[in-house]
Amino acid sequence: MGEYAVEVHDLHKDFGEVYAVKGVSFNVQRGEIFSLLGPNGAGKSTTISMLACLQRPSQGDALVMGHSVTAVPQQAKAALGIVPQEIALYDDLSARENLDFWGKMYGLRGAALQKQVDDVLELIGLTDRQKGRIGKFSGGMKRRVNIGAALLHKPDIIIMDEPTVGIDPQSRRHILDGVKALNQQGMTVLYTTHYMEEAQELSDHIAIMDQGEIIALGTHGELVRIVGEQDRIDLRINAPSELVMAHWQEVPGVSQVTADDGLISLLADDSNVVLPRLFEVATAVNVRITSVEIQEPNLETVFLHLTGRALRD
């Protein structure tokens, strides 16, 4: 068994004409939190499906705790806990009944099962609500049970597919803290998200995914350095103008200009130097700047730099 919990070698997946994953490779070290960060449709879930042995790769392979997902899927599966992107639970059963059922499906029985269910309920903070039906739970509570169901069999690795989608900030906080706690107990975490703050807060390593490919991989610090010491300047103007964007592109120190839904984003070496020039150019072509915002470099900036598009939906 190698030093990696997960090794992914050149994974491909196509659905007929749709190339969902186009040659993805990365390694997840034991005991770390590794994030796949990417927008909708990037191929995160498809990649995870292949790791979970739910879909067969069109090409390539992955090792989970040294077990090939194509050759020995049963062994690979046993090492994994999967938290699906959707709430894969039974609405008409209670939280405890759900956990009880999933525990049995993972092969637990009797007292060992009951103890695990108790522990997991404690961990997800739902001991008091264990008899409540899932269907009556809030989104955040459902998400917590969804995670809990993947922890019962104490897997070496937990893979979480966007576990914080569509929930309130308090529940999100609870989940992020829970992920860190699990990691501190020694569990390897593979986490996917399209929130850069989550990737930044949690991860030891981050792979940025877009359109089926990994376009950057490293620690948060390494990734941010890709864009150098550049700032990101977001501007709004009174009327759409191709002309002003073309002129801004010519301003020394500006490396990239992109427009997205009325918001113009620039990457600039030093906003203090560049900003006055931007106003001058705008005035010259009769465009009014209505708002300006300067952001320090972050993963959002990196994504913008690499793809010319914004990460958020």
Partner: protein
Amino acid sequence: MRVVDLAIKDLRQILRERQSAFFLLIMPVVFTLLFGFAFGGFGGGDDEDPRLPVGFLNQDAGTVSEDLVTLLAQSDVIRLVTDTMDVADLETQVKDGVTAAAVIVPAGYGQHMTAGELVPLTVIVDSGNASGITAQEEVTAAVTRLLSALQTAQVGMETAVSQNVISESDKPAYFETTLARAITAWAAPPIQVAVSQSGAVDESGTETAVSSDNAFAHSSPGMMAQFAIAGLITAAQILVLERKSGSLRRLLTTDMSRGSILLGHYLAMFVTILAQLFILILFGQLFLKLPYFQEPAATLLLTVASALFAASLGLLIGALAQSEEQAIIFSLVPMFVLAGLGGAWVPLEFTPEGFQRIAFFTPIAWMMDGFKDIIVRGLGLEAVLLATAVLIIYAIIFWGLAAWRFRFE
């Protein structure tokens, strides 16, 4: 073991759903009663007398026709209904199936018969109705007995006169006494004709015509067959929801194989229908007085085969339906088609031969046939073996289709 755990989970969900009780038990019981009363045919509420009702109108007066009544009243097959004085009404009752046949004794019948002249009784039957023929045969038998009794009395009287035992004026009284004695002798006939079933085989021989005395002998197995299909609506919906929610996919992340997941769901459906059928059979036995327990082994075998078949259809419905609404439609459509064609509503023996041939392409017809073999024809294990085999073949076919079409996401 995990297959059983999965089935238990399904059963828990099925029991928790209020509509389950509705489709599994309430509807079939209600429809069994409704259909029973609607198509029950003869004498709906009169469960006590199992004999075929025969309309009877006596236009004659005198002892001979009364003796005929006595003979007919001894019958194990027919009973006389004498509430109508109108010939047209008698005909209508036969046509509507209220009575199996009608007998009219013409005026002067007794006089002519005593004089040794044969006068036919008018017997009204519906030629399409096997019970009518049975009733007619019984009436003919009674008339034959009456004739021989009359002859006995005649011979007895003439002998008495010739030997001067009685005077000419005592003749009528002596005749009557002798006749009465002859008639009474028929009550204990020298040859006992055992009539175990009031049925007869029609010429084509495709389907045994059966007229059970019990109004529910058809509707009980009919509604059992029909609602064994509808009973799986909840189970199929649970499968659909499991797929929709992603739980089915999640099951695949455990080391449950696809086959054992299907088997677990099938097991839950099988147990559901088995329980449903047992309760309905118990209801039939205890409240409708249908002799399901007369042949317990045959009933058990047929019930298990029926549940195997119905559950496989349920699995197929769960495999094909994409939404909860579709699960309902995919259950109700085959339910109506199979139940209608298979003779769950109208007994196949009342349908044309061509229809019957089509009917036996449906599993329902076999299920019905098997149960009627037990509760109507009084047959046992051997009689239901074919129906059992056919139902199991259907189960295998539906299983194959379900496994082939089953999608996990």
